[in-house]
């Protein structure tokens, strides 16, 4: 879990296995000709790491994530995923939604396997994959339940398993834990760290919480509103081998939280 500090490495068409998984190049987004949500943003997301987008409400975090996901078109600029320009959603990226976005009429296993169902994978095969990720997020035994029978935290685990089961390189998570309670949230954060370590995927994670960002991230992009831009990139240099509770009292952790807070405050004031 060391940040490699190679963001300067150039991504080119013929080097898809570069260390940059997602590259945002001079991206602007103007809604309805008037609202400048993103303004000439440039940002790299190192492969296999978790990068958080942190910033005040309305600074364009969701907008950026949706553009990377291909759900929204940028007004100008370019997004490269593995060196290839993004044009719409693709199998190399998977989304986790803030409000879970589960199909209430489908069981847990069908929800988890939905991405594979859309690709026309045979039922037995896709359910075997879904089964694996249901177990990975700790929901074994709930396969035949419906979303309304689950708690908020469990629903988001379904959303996570669904995104994992399509085996995308890049996972896009828009405030995935904001709708769950604090205890569940902490457990989630720990599980997320384990996932980043095991799954070797690139995570792009939107959050409002400074503590959460510092706790889970290899790299934090601080975004500021009006005009929206990256103000700072912070790489929390935290020793993750210590226990979660010790970590939350770790001086480096606390210092980083404090540093981000003062950074944001100076802009708020």
């Amino acid at each position: 879990m060391t940040s490699q500090g190679n963001t300067a490495l150039k991504t080119t068409q013929d080097a898809p296995q570069s260390d940059i998984a997602v590259s945002v190049r001079n991206v602007s987004k103007i809604y309805g000709g008037a609202i400048h949500a993103l303004n000439d943003m440039t940002l790299d997301f190192p492969r296999g790491q978790l990068t958080s987008l942190l910033g005040p409400s309305g600074c364009g975090k969701t907008t950026l994530l949706k553009i990377i996901g291909g759900l929204l078109d940028q007004t100008s600029g370019e997004i490269l995923v593995n060196g290839k320009p993004v044009d719409g959603p693709g199998p190399d990226r998977a989304f986790v939604f803030q409000d879970f976005a589960l199909m209430p009429w489908a069981t847990v296993i069908r929800n988890v396997a939905f991405g594979l169902e859309l690709r026309g994978i045979a039922k037995s095969e896709r359910e075997a994959v879904a089964e694996k990720y249901i177990a990975a997020v700790g929901l074994s035994g709930f396969e035949k339940q419906y979303p309304h029978e689950l708690s908020g935290g469990m629903r988001q685990r379904v959303g996570l398993a669904r995104a994992l089961s399509v085996n995308a390189d890049v996972l896009l998570l828009d405030e995935p834990f904001s709708a769950v309670d604090e205890q569940t949230r902490r457990k989630f954060q720990e599980d997320l760290l384990a996932l980043v370590e095991h799954e070797k995927k690139t995570f792009i994670f939107v959050t409002h919480s400074i503590e959460e960002a510092v706790y889970v991230s290899d790299q934090i992009a601080l975004l500021l509103a009006r005009p929206s831009r990256v103000s700072e990139i912070i790489k929390p240099d935290i020793d993750r081998s210590i226990s979660p509770d010790a970590l939350r009292r770790d001086p480096v952790y606390l210092d980083t939280v404090e540093r981000i807070w003062s950074s944001l405050r100076s802009y708020v004031e």
Partner: protein
């Protein structure tokens, strides 16, 4: 059913009216209203006859084909209107107009266009049913949370897949409500169509019975029709209640 302080089942009011009907009928006050018992006896008598069965067949076929068209066209159009503001703007005034228009007045025009026959009846039936199906489907689609649609899109759903795997399921409670009301309207549509065209099915029987003052026959046929419509509505109502559980849990 129990009386005097006990809870009465839902249908008990019907029983009171049935008794009242029987009394008025037995009093022989008007030729228009024979006793209910005589009507029921007549019903048992005419239902197995060939003329009834063939009329039933013709009517059922026109009904099924007409409502089939209404569903097959109405649901996709409703989904499109719910999805696209442009299509909605274009079509909504027409849908609203036809929903409240006296469609009966259109039947003679349809007769000119499609001839005096089954085709006109089918189209009349479809016209009676389709507008409420469109409108309810549209309402159902409008309340689908946008993240569910984005989800399907982000996992690579084609428009076709989104329609069959997301839209119609997410809007199912509203769609079923529209189909139920549409089917009840279609019962009216098929009879009005047949009455005005007056050469086929139940419409022809109605015409025959009322022209000859065969009131027992007339009421017997009406009751058969009422039971058919009632069974249909109850069946769809049952399906509606089955999907109720998620109608509540869909909120964005």
């Amino acid at each position: 059913m129990k009386l005097f302080g006990y809870k009465l089942p839902m249908m008990s009011s019907l029983l009171i009216w049935a008794v009242l009907w029987e009394i008025v009928g037995q009093l022989d006050m008007t030729i228009l209203l024979p006793p209910l018992s005589a009507i029921l006896a007549k019903m048992v008598e005419i239902v197995p006859t060939n003329s009834f069965l063939s009329a039933f067949g013709v009517t059922a076929r026109a009904f099924l084909v007409g409502t089939g068209f209404a569903v097959a066209i109405g649901i996709p159009v409703g989904v499109l209107m719910g999805k696209s503001v442009l299509i909605d703007r274009l079509l909504l005034p027409w849908v609203n107009m036809f929903l409240s228009a006296p469609l009966t007045a259109l039947v003679p025009v349809l007769m000119v266009l499609f001839g005096i026959g089954e085709q006109t009846v089918i189209i009349t039936t479809a016209l009676f049913a389709i507008w409420i199906i469109v409108l309810d489907t549209r309402a159902g689609v409008k309340q689908i949370s946008s993240s569910l649609v984005e989800m399907a899109h982000s996992f690579g759903a084609s428009s076709f897949q989104a329609f069959f795997k997301i839209y119609i399921w997410a809007a199912l409670p509203e769609i079923l409500a529209g189909v139920r009301i549409g089917f009840i309207r279609a019962v009216k549509g098929v009879i009005i169509g047949q009455l005005l065209v007056s050469v086929v099915g139940f419409g022809r029987l109605f015409e025959l019975y009322s022209a000859n003052f065969l009131m027992e026959h007339f009421w017997a046929l009406l009751l058969v029709l009422f039971f058919a419509a009632f069974t249909l509505a109850e069946g769809l109502g049952y399906l509606e209640r089955k999907v109720d559980y998620y109608a509540a849990s869909r909120a964005p």
